[in-house]
């Protein structure tokens, strides 16, 4: 894929992600404001409304900029309208064009994999606590990306031991043992 087409694809992905994020935020804030207006006391809802209503306007502005509703179908399809070279021009809102995760499908896959690991980590932490989860997570996470078992075990075990010594033995801190109290 040429650089120009790649930039175009990147911008398209960014628009879709931005559009999705802004729609989600807009919906969430509308719900929050609706709930706020159910509170009887103005001292409870006035400030949230003062902040929330202009925020909705700002999000709407950014949504329009992000998806460029001159071509609404671009929100839902991979086809871009117009010359692809225009997509690599500086965005009208003055944003820079630094290297973006969206430009590289592999980067996006790694990001999703990392996020997936974080979900697993949070579940493990909640149920079995830090003592079991820390070495398990470190070893498996590192191995999943590096495919180097010896280094994974070395770093994972070493870090876990260091953390145990520093936080529990030296600093005498309370750690979470998990819902299952392991």
């Amino acid at each position: 894929m040429s650089d120009t087409a790649e930039a175009g694809e990147s911008r398209s992905r960014e628009r879709r992600l931005s559009g999705l994020l802004y729609v989600t935020l807009f919906t969430w804030i509308v719900i929050l404001l609706w709930q706020a207006l159910q509170w009887g006391n103005p001292e409870d809802w006035l400030f949230p409304v003062i902040v929330g209503v202009p925020l909705l306007g700002l999000i709407a502005i950014q949504f329009i900029r992000a998806v460029r509703l001159r071509h609404p179908e671009s929100l839902f399809s991979n086809r871009e309208h117009g010359d692809a070279s225009t997509l690599s021009a500086e965005a009208p809102d003055g944003d820079e064009q630094p290297k973006s995760v969206l430009r590289d499908p592999d980067a996006w896959d790694r990001a999703l994999m990392t996020i997936g690991w974080l979900v697993v980590l949070s579940v493990l932490l909640y149920y079995v606590g830090f003592v079991i989860t820390t070495p398990l997570f470190l070893i498996l996470f590192i191995y999943s990306f590096s495919r180097d078992p010896s280094r994974s075990v070395l770093v994972g075990t070493g870090t876990s031991i260091a953390m145990y010594l520093i936080f529990i033995e030296i600093l005498d801190m309370v750690i979470w043992r998990g819902v299952w109290h392991i």
Partner: protein
């Protein structure tokens, strides 16, 4: 017994520091800050957020000394990588590489590092001197600020930071407003109404400061770095510290007016709530380059570029402490976290701190001075060792940082649900990085949200509901004018420091 004057406060701080255990802790914190400043994603706010749990069981004075020392360490650590491998360890070091790295390529790395070390230390001391000199004025000025003025000051701080951070103004304002909304979750401090708890008991306590900070900075950065699969640099094996360090040291004194102007810029920019180091760095650099008769040399290895950037970067710390300590309004993301540390140790920043805990102010000032001097000395000795850290693959750094982050978040209140809040903000922060929305305004929104809302209602209570109170004093009128100007001017003038980043 609390200190009555700042000099008594210094005496208490120096006495505290003279204990060998405390001095050793400061040295270790400085070295740790140096190492963390080198690793992308770990400098500045992230380093502090990770260190706070380590200070829980410490005496509050020692804890704040450790955090102040680490702050000084990360700044210089970031400048080393900017100079040696063209990669700033922290955002405020970004302008340093413009001339620092070309100097390395010319075999003058030692000279650049020497200049950076001295400019950093002296810049920090300059900023602290301004802080000390401004304290009598500050103590008087605090009396001019009632609830209405503090409300407007908080709003102005939010608007400023939304405008000058990286990215466009609208996104910055969205980020700040979201931070305000997050701050309003939980039980209202005014009416005890449960607001937006989503039916979850742990949300009644609202969104505390540390989990979002750790999530938005540490966790989000690690996701982003993992996605980009970076090793910071593959060039460190070839790094040679050539060139004379002393030449660099001498050059700071030769270009003393450039140093002073840059340090002054850093201090003044640091005073403005929310602006932080990155703007100071670039403003000083470009002021120096544009005012030089031979400006074409900048960007090609001109020592003046390194001096101006580093002087302003470290001077801003002293400047940013003025609104933080005096009004409880953070001058930057780093001071926002320091503010969180204050609260954790039972200290209330703002007028109360200045009047009843002046010894704490003295402790922080002394720690910053000592840390910056130590940083420069230790940094010069350990440069090569520190830079080899940049060879570490992010695959090994990221999971360790994430686990430390989650542990830190849990330890804030021994509340496991803070882990979920941290991960939520980590994901949100990563999305914000991806769509180029600044995260600093959100943190400031979370910090300033309670301050702004509570003072808003206090002001109305004082005036029996009459909104005229917000324009009834000269200070409030000035602040209102600044607030409106900060929102309008960017629309009239396309210039924004963020565009230089």
């Amino acid at each position: 017994m609390p200190a009555a004057t700042i000099f008594e406060a210094f005496g208490i701080a120096i006495t505290t520091l003279s204990h060998p255990y405390v001095l050793l802790t400061i040295v270790l914190a400085t070295i740790l800050g140096l190492f963390m400043g080198v690793i992308p994603g770990l400098g500045g706010p992230t380093a502090l957020a990770l260190l706070i749990p380590l200070t829980f069981n410490m005496d509050s004075r020692i804890a704040l000394m450790v955090l102040a020392a680490a702050t000084g360490g990360t700044a210089f650590g970031g400048s080393l990588t900017a100079i040696l491998i063209n990669t700033p360890g922290t955002a405020p070091n970004a302008a340093t590489l413009l001339d620092g790295y070309p100097m390395t390529k010319q075999g003058r790395a030692g000279e650049a590092i020497g200049a950076s070390a001295i400019a950093s230390a002296m810049g920090a001391i300059f900023g602290i001197v301004i802080l000390i000199l401004s304290m009598p004025i500050l103590l008087q000025a605090i009396l001019w600020f009632g609830p209405a003025e503090i409300f407007l000051l908080g709003l102005w701080g939010l608007s400023i930071v939304s405008i000058v951070v990286k990215g466009n103004v609208t996104k910055g304002l969205i980020s700040a407003a979201l931070g305000l909304l997050f701050a309003m979750h939980g039980i209202s401090g005014i009416t005890a109404q449960m607001r937006w708890t989503y039916g979850l008991t742990f949300m009644q306590d609202g969104v505390k400061l540390i989990p979002p900070i750790v999530g938005l900075f540490a966790v989000a950065e690690m996701i982003d770095l993992m996605a980009k699969n970076t090793t910071i640099s593959n060039e460190t094996d070839n790094v040679e510290i050539e060139g004379k360090v002393l030449d660099g040291v001498r050059s700071v004194f030769i270009h003393k007016w450039i140093f002073l102007r840059s340090a002054l810029i850093g201090t003044l920019v640091g005073i403005i709530p929310g602006v932080g180091g990155t703007a100071a760095n670039y403003i000083a650099y470009f002021t120096t380059s544009q005012s030089a008769s031979d400006s074409e040399n900048f960007g090609k290895g001109d020592i003046r570029g390194v001096i101006s950037s580093e002087a302003s970067n470290d001077a801003k710390d002293g400047g940013s402490l003025i609104p933080t300590l005096g009004f409880g309004i953070p001058g930057s993301a780093t001071t926002a976290i320091l503010l969180g540390a204050f609260v954790l140790h039972g200290i209330t920043p703002g007028p109360v701190l200045m009047q009843e805990n002046l010894d704490i102010v003295g402790v922080i000032i002394v720690a910053l001075v000592v840390a910056n001097i130590l940083t420069s000395l230790i940094g010069l000795m350990l440069t090569k060792r520190i830079v080899t850290l940049t060879n570490i693959d992010i695959v090994y750094v990221a999971p360790v940082v994430i686990i430390l982050s989650l542990f830190g978040s849990f330890a804030v209140q021994n509340n496991v649900f803070n882990i979920f809040i941290t991960l939520f903000f980590g994901l949100l922060g990563f999305l914000m990085i991806t769509i180029k929305m600044a995260r600093v305004p959100m943190i400031l929104g979370i910090v300033l949200g309670p301050i702004v809302e509570n003072n808003f209602w206090r002001a109305l209570q004082l005036s029996s509901g009459d909104p005229v109170i917000f324009v009834s004093s000269p200070v409030s009128i000035v602040l209102l004018f600044l607030l409106v100007a900060s929102l309008i001017v960017p629309k009239l003038d396309r210039f924004s420091p963020g565009e230089y980043q």
